[in-house]
Symmetry: C2
Amino acid sequence: MYIAIDIGGTKMRAALYPDKGIEPLRIKRIKTIGRNKTTLERLVTLIKQVWPERGKILALGVAVPGYLNPHTGIVYSAPNIPNWKQLPLGQILHSKFNTTIMLGNDANLAAMGEWRYGAGQGTHNLLYLTISTGIGGGVIINNNLLVGAQGLAAELGHVTILPDGPLCSCGQRGHLEALSSGNAIAKFVSDKLAKGIRSSLKNIKHISAQDVSLAAHAGDALAQEAMDRAAGYLGMALANFVHIFNPEMIILGGGVLQSGSRFLEKTRIALERYIIAKEYLEHVIITRAQLGDDSGLYGALAFAHTGAIAPLN
Amino acid sequence: MYIAIDIGGTKMRAALYPDKGIEPLRIKRIKTIGRNKTTLERLVTLIKQVWPERGKILALGVAVPGYLNPHTGIVYSAPNIPNWKQLPLGQILHSKFNTTIMLGNDANLAAMGEWRYGAGQGTHNLLYLTISTGIGGGVIINNNLLVGAQGLAAELGHVTILPDGPLCSCGQRGHLEALSSGNAIAKFVSDKLAKGIRSSLKNIKHISAQDVSLAAHAGDALAQEAMDRAAGYLGMALANFVHIFNPEMIILGGGVLQSGSRFLEKTRIALERYIIAKEYLEHVIITRAQLGDDSGLYGALAFAHTGAIAPLN
């Protein structure tokens, strides 16, 4: 059997799966941050709750929301879990559960989940982006997950698209995440409202990307400008990624993609506008993610199936 | 034995290598474009000149200066060889020589050459960029060459760094190649001179990047600005690539890198300025290419050694 775990900023889920198949035998959830126990203690409890009474666990796959090294099992940092800094999570879980531990970045593993069980089934080279409050990514190259020398690859939200552009969550400027994420969309509108631009959104206190999306649907000019701008920069970034990876498929997930067909259409138009040779797009399918909130859990399962990631050094 | 061929814009070289080792048994060169014969006919003649009287050729590796699909052997286009459009080069060479034909993009194969025989020996994940009149790239990921679904990956010169920036050779704007290549450096100086900026370069008719480099060494302020600007954008692009690939090593080659240590130093400073987490650079070696003009030939040999690239579809 396999155990897959998806650690989110607010909740953690663990599921027990049979040797083959993706119907969970057990599934449990728990809050990531709680009063009485540390996140690590809560995680260990959660795993024990789904652990089988008999039978062998072949591997335990974990999707972690942060920077980590899958080769060493060290979590460098996880923005939403303050105490996880230079945490040897792989080693700790191995010593407690004595099975193969496969740690991966959550967006990377979501890409793997969509590839094995979602929109990307049957492809060999795909690009996955989740456009949510932030932007995360994952890349499958010739049937392998791109992880990089220390497991830090595929940070597709943190590429400079507009030098000296808006401030990003990472402290740099003009990154894709600072231009096309949900937070970026909301901030663009807030900044324009502060300058006196008219909009139906002017009386909302803390504007969210969803507010902007709804107002855009209702015909609000500022909201439409904000959504189209985000889609335009996303398309430009996708052209870069297509020149870099030459994928067969681009899968887009996350809350911002729920905003309707206009956002995806504007993204596609920008991508076509910035591509350097038609051959790149002749066979590319651009599609929505299919697994929703389950992509991380499925990805952790798919990653656990790969059994062991060989240490590179 | 193996045969490796490097097709350049002005000359082609072919070399015969023993089963093991990199000392050529024979090496021949010929002009790429000539009066009497087509480039394809000249290439076939060149291969015959190095073909051994006895013994078996295990594979023939060819570095091609253009867009091509290594899986199908079709050359989509080669900017410096006007007649090569949708040319089934792999099939043609296979029918004439009846051995495994391995075609690769020249910059991709140069990366492979540096990895196997040059600056990158012993690494598993590296990024290679050649900064010449244009900018080409190649990426080794977990001991494999990145080629993409149709072999069009790693076009690292054609990523947008500055939206609405200078015109690129491909027709788009603000690409890395339009900001940091030799042509971009020369054009920046020419444009400034046309606006009346003072410089020791003002009496040179057709300014080259080498002219700018020499003037920068001699203390010319405009020339130094041009070189530093190119290095700054290159460093910004490298930060993007490091976030995307998390390599162990970055190898920089091409004529612009011959301009002295200041260019590399300014590139490194910009890279450090734009990186999002120190872990990315802790183990990265940034170094110059070692194989010079031979990188394509060595890369074609290394690619021939990989024997056969499996068709993906």
